[in-house]
Structures are given as structure tokens and as C-alpha cells.
């Protein structure tokens, strides 16, 4: 049982590397090819995150989101979720810090 996930991990990692090589070769947008989040920030006021996986924590000072490359932690003041859909999320407020936690 302990071996099984290790075995399963290996081809998956290979596949990911392969996709990275492929996308680099063909110059495909990485967020599509690798399913990575696309984050655009307007100053320190607005932030749009596409391709996120879920909300882990939401308070006024801190938001943690689950993404394909780890947990994204956003810190700031009076954070406000303007809209949420399955694909994207719009955060407004005073953003002070962004951090990826693996």
C-alpha cells in the first residue's frame, strides 16, 4: 500500500515534465498547458485569480487559496471577494503580501 502511491507518482511527474517541455517547445500558454493559476494584480487594490481550486481560508486580513502549485496566501487589509465562479475569483482590498506555501 505504501509503495503504490510512490509508483503512481512517478509517471505523473514524468507527464508533467513532458508537458512542460512540450509547452516550451510550442510556446503554449503555461496556465493552459500546465493548469497553473493566472494572477493579475492591479496596483495593490484588485487581484484576479483564474484557475484556482478552492478557498481554504477567508478572513479580512488573510485569504488562502488552493492552486495546482501549492497554497497561495494573500495578506492585506479589508479583503473583499467581489465575485467567485468556478474559474476565477476577484479580490479587492489593500493587498500587502503574496506567498506560495508548498
Amino acid at each position: 500500500m505504501a509503495r503504490k502511491p510512490a509508483n503512481a507518482q512517478k509517471p505523473k511527474k514524468d507527464r508533467k515534465d513532458l508537458r512542460l517541455i512540450f509547452s516550451n517547445m510550442l510556446e503554449l500558454p503555461k496556465e493552459v498547458a500546465l493548469n497553473l493559476p493566472l494572477i493579475s494584480i492591479t496596483g495593490n487594490q484588485e487581484m484576479e485569480i483564474e484557475n484556482y481550486k478552492g478557498v481554504v481560508e477567508y478572513t479580512e486580513e488573510r485569504i488562502r487559496l488552493n492552486t495546482s502549485c501549492g497554497i497561495l496566501k494573500i495578506e492585506g487589509k479589508s479583503l473583499f471577494l467581489k465575485q467567485i465562479t468556478t474559474e476565477n475569483m476577484l479580490i479587492t482590498g489593500k493587498i500587502t503580501k503574496l506567498e506560495y506555501m508548498l
Binding site: Y58, T59, L79, F80, L81, K82
Partner: protein, 400 residues
Amino acid sequence: MFLKGWNYLRGYVEIRVSGFSVERFMNLAVYRGVYLWDIRYTPKGVIMKVSVKGFKLLRPCAKKTKCRIKIISKNGYPFLAHRYRKRKIFGAGFIFFVAVLYVMSSFLWLVEIEGNERISSETLIQFCQDRGLKTGAYKKGFDKNLLENELMLSFSDLSWVNITVTGTRAHIQVTETIPHQELVNRDTPCDIIASKDGLITSIVTSAGTPLKKSKDVVQKGDVLVSGELVVKEDETGIIKQYVHSSAEVWAKMYNEISFTVPYTYTEKAYTGEAENYYTIQFFGKNFNLNFWKSGNSFSNYDKITYRNQLSFGENYPLPVILIKNQAREFIPIDKTRDREQAEELADRIVTSRILREFDFEADIVGKELEFIPEDDYLRVLAVITSLQRIDEERAIEAEK
């Protein structure tokens, strides 16, 4: 902005979600395709907005994540409509208002004419009225081009006609032709006769045989210049030719004006007191707005009437005319004038009568006033000496 309007139209609910893991609830809701917006964190719970449709899907999510949902407010058109569902009269009234506005604006409420000088507006308006263009007529009830053509054909003095209908106002714009000179037919023989009595001061004949000369006294109807022209006169007989005579004849004449100037007169002293009476004219019918008042309390007053047609902007006059009758009180004060003032007034009266009664061409040479004092008035006898043209054409009856 657009999204906000759409959300308002569809209706949305503001809810407060509280529980152990609101994040899980949000994830689940989003995963199930519920659109959430304006999510705000408060210590009591997370406040968010969700559409009415989405809200129905939230209950199972809340149950699964053990969260509690509390509705804070319901917003949007469907809730508003639901609240006012019993106020049918209000709705009907609103629809009726819009309908009336629409119906009213499809009629003409003002017909204007611009550009006419020689043709009177009444004639043109009457002509248009007979052909369907009048106040209260349906906008599409008359053929604009046909009417324009008819106007052009019926009035030879018009060179251009344009009818424009803007809103509830019909504007008829016309341009008149240049007045054509009256043609003088020089072939028809005629005499020149005197149109007034007088003493001839000058006579300038350009055609015909003058029968009178300067300083002759003539009476109305006398032949001044004859159209009969003797071409040759010898033993064989007289050869005559009849011409269209023409002459400019000026004569001096005296006109007498007599009138009286009383020594006493009344003057209006306005007290400043005024009473207003309003009347509404609706579709040509008068409705008295001050029906409880019967007449005014003044014994002496002047009545002034103001008319004001109501309109929506410039292009939408309405069939409603507000009429304001103002009664202004005055006190008649009896006054007397002395001889000197009476003479002054008489002089002014004479001057104004000269301006009014004499031809523009007439030349006033002299003005003599004679005053005959009576008991309570002054009799005035004015003799006006003037120079006037007295030539007038009269066709010669065919003798040959």
C-alpha cells in the same frame, strides 16, 4: 454596471453564512455552479449575495458543511413586484398614463404658420383645416405632400411651402412670391379725373390733353386731362386719337375737423389690488377653476387676459390652455383741466387725427385751430391745409 442591472432584474438575496468552515461551504457552492458575489467578512459570519435561483441550491450545501444561512435582505425587481402584486390599480394607472401619453402625442395640438405677409394666416389655416390639418387632427390623417401641392396650386402668391410635423406641432413654412407689378394697359384710352375737390397747384401731363391748368379750382369728378388728342385739324375735318393719358396732379385743399374737449374728465388710479381667475381650456371647452367665486368685489376694474398653452418641451404642445383673467382695480378720479391744458390736448388730437386720416403721401401745409369756449367744454375747429395728389384714371367709353 450592466451586471448590476441584470442582477437587480433577476432578483438577489443577501445572506449571512456562519459555521465552522464557511470556506468549505463557498467551495461547494461554487462547485455546484452557484454564482456568489460581494463576499464580505464580518465576525458574525460571512455576508454574501446570491441569485434567487442559486439560493435554492444553497440549502443542501449548508446542510453538508453544517453552516447556518440567514437571509439579511431580499433585493431586486421580483421581490418588489411581489410586494406590490396587490396594487393592481397602481399598475393599471401607470399603464394608462403611458398609453394616454402615447395616444395624445399622436395628435396635432398646434398649427403654426410662418413666412406669410400678404396672405392672412386665417385664410391659410382655414384652407389647411378643410383638408384635415387642424388642432386635434390625427398626425397621420393627412397627406403632407398632397397638402403642400394643394397650397401651392391654390395660392398663386406662394412660391414655396413646407410642412413639418415635430412632436404634436405642425409647422407650415411658406415663402411668398415677389409681388408682381400691376400692368398698365396703355392701349385702353382713358381720362384723368379729379378724385377730390381742390385748387390745382401743379399739373404735369405726360400723355393726353390737359384741360385744366395750375390755380384752377376743380371739383371731384372733373376731367383734368383728356385722352382725346387732336392730331390734325383742317377743312376736311378733325382727326382724333384716343390715348391712355397720364398725369401727376397736385392740389391744395382744406379739411375741417371739429370736435369738443370737455373740461372735466376721469382718470384711472390703479390701487394695485388684483384678483386672478383661472380657466382651463381643454379640447376647446372651458372649465372654470374658480367656480366658488362669483365675480370680483371691485366696482371699477380692467380685465386682462393671459393665454398660455401647456406643452412638454417645445415640440409637444398639449390640448390644454391655461387662461388667466386678471381684474385690476382702479378708482376713477374726477379731474378738471383749464383752458390752456384743453388747447394743448386739442392740438395733440388734431395731430394724431392728421396722421390717421390723411394719406401718407399728403403734404400738410398748414394747420389752424380755432377755439370756441362753451360752458363746460371747449369746441375746437381745425382747418388743415394740405397738398394731395388728385389724379385718377377713368376709361373713356368707346365712342367709335
